[in-house]
């Protein structure tokens, strides 16, 4: 057994070690935020490595999965490694854009300046009010109905159904239901809002289809495809599987509504 020595380089307070640890944690923070905001795997990897190298690491190696990010940094014979979970936050492209800009400037900033600016971004990147988003998703669904050729009543019903379902989805997400469940119930509510008073419109089919389109998992689908095409196969399959589960929940919700309202 090799005796443990208390040489200066093994000390947790050794300046080299402390600095490398700070570089590691800062770069990881950046990667985690980018992933949580909706960045695809190649973007997360590029950002994390760029920041680590800009802050002084000689080499940086990343490991990115759908729920974790790992980073190893090397300098002067030292290496430090850490892994972090990336909880689901919801897509936030404002923050993603700001973090991308910051990472490109990271070579001109000190570690403290970078951390300060990261904190500013994550603290100030505001979201639109929930009520506005819910109304706008309804407007989106109404617009889809118009694109599909629905009449005025069909457009209005799709908008109402879309808003109602979007609100229910938000409430169920807040209560931590799983995607399959909240998509099923949100689609059931949206379709029911259209099918209940369907006598008002002659374009029920277009309206009911449009009313659930706010559930389309656009970001997982596009990020999953991006991952597959950039050779991040495992993450791509995970994201596309998540998108499939969401689509399955929405489809079943719609099918259930059609059965309940006697359209099947």
């Amino acid at each position: 057994m090799v005796p443990v020595t208390d040489s200066p380089t093994d000390s947790p307070t050794d300046p080299q070690r402390v600095q490398l640890e700070a570089i590691l944690q800062t770069a990881l923070d950046m990667g985690v935020r980018v992933q949580m905001c909706g960045g695809y795997t190649a973007r997360v990897r590029a950002t994390t490595q760029r920041v680590a190298l800009a802050l002084g690491a000689e080499r940086a190696e990343t490991w990115v999965s759908s729920g974790n990010i790992g980073l190893a940094v090397y300098r002067g014979g030292w290496s430090r490694t850490s892994v972090r979970n990336t909880p689901t936050l919801g897509v936030n492209f404002t923050e993603l854009s700001q973090l991308s800009q910051l990472s490109k400037r990271s070579g001109q900033l000190t570690l403290d300046q970078l951390r300060e600016q990261m904190a500013q971004i994550t603290g100030t990147a505001k979201r639109y009010p929930l009520s506005l988003v819910v109304v706008m998703l309804g407007v989106s669904c109404g617009s889809f109905a118009a694109l599909f050729g629905a009449d005025a009543a069909g457009i209005a019903l799709a908008a109402a159904g879309g808003s109602a379902g979007a609100w229910l989805r938000h409430e169920m997400v807040r209560r931590q239901f799983k995607p399959f469940i909240y998509c099923l119930f949100a689609a059931l509510l949206s379709a029911s809002v259209v099918l209940g008073p369907s006598a008002l419109t002659t374009t029920t089919q277009q309206a009911v289809t449009a009313s659930i389109l706010y559930l389309v998992p656009g970001v997982p689908l596009l990020n999953g495809t991006a991952d597959l095409l950039t050779s991040n196969y495992l993450n791509g399959v995970v994201r596309l599987t998540r998108a499939s589960v969401i689509l399955l929940g929405a489809t079943l919700g719609l099918a259930l509504a059609l059965l309940v309202w006697g359209y099947a």
Partner: protein
């Protein structure tokens, strides 16, 4: 014939999703304009006799190319302009047909075998078409990034 009035509906359709994705206010008009252009290209392609999968791929590719070029110049990540404008290209009519036929097949009592078979084929055909269109949209929107020169990184 492609109607300018009908493609304008793509603007509010994409704007709602952009707000869900928390796109900055200053980028919303650009997202809306790209969505209208994409819908116009898709409808025009179909009017010219292109298959729906091909016309949607071309429209999504144009969206991806614009996003890739515009993103860094406006201080936005390219997904800001690439993701929401593609969503109005989703084939609602094909999805509706697939679901209706599927429901008809599931709930039929099989007394009319020929009708049940027709419903199944219609559901499968529409379902595969919808899946192919979704794949074309994703590939089209992402492809320009893969063709980027080495001076650009996935961050751009």
């Amino acid at each position: 014939m492609t109607s300018l009035w009908s493609v304008l509906w793509a603007a509010p359709a994409a704007t709602g999703f952009a707000m869900l994705f928390n796109v900055r206010k200053r980028a919303l008009p650009i997202v809306a304009a790209i969505a209208v252009l994409a819908r116009f290209v898709s409808d025009y392609g179909k009017d010219q006799g292109l298959p729906i999968v091909a016309s949607d791929f071309i429209a999504a590719f144009i969206v991806g190319a614009i996003a890739y070029a515009l993103g860094p110049r406006t201080g936005e990540a390219s997904p800001v302009y690439a993701f929401a404008p593609v969503i109005p290209l989703i084939p609602g009519a094909v999805i509706a047909e697939a679901l209706t036929s599927l429901m008809a097949w599931i709930t039929s009592d099989r007394t009319d075998e020929a009708q049940a078979a027709a419903d199944f084929i219609a559901a499968a055909s529409s379902g595969f078409t919808a899946a192919a269109i979704l794949l074309a949209l994703c590939l089209g929107a992402i492809s320009p990034t893969l063709l980027m020169p080495r001076t650009r990184t996935p961050e751009d």
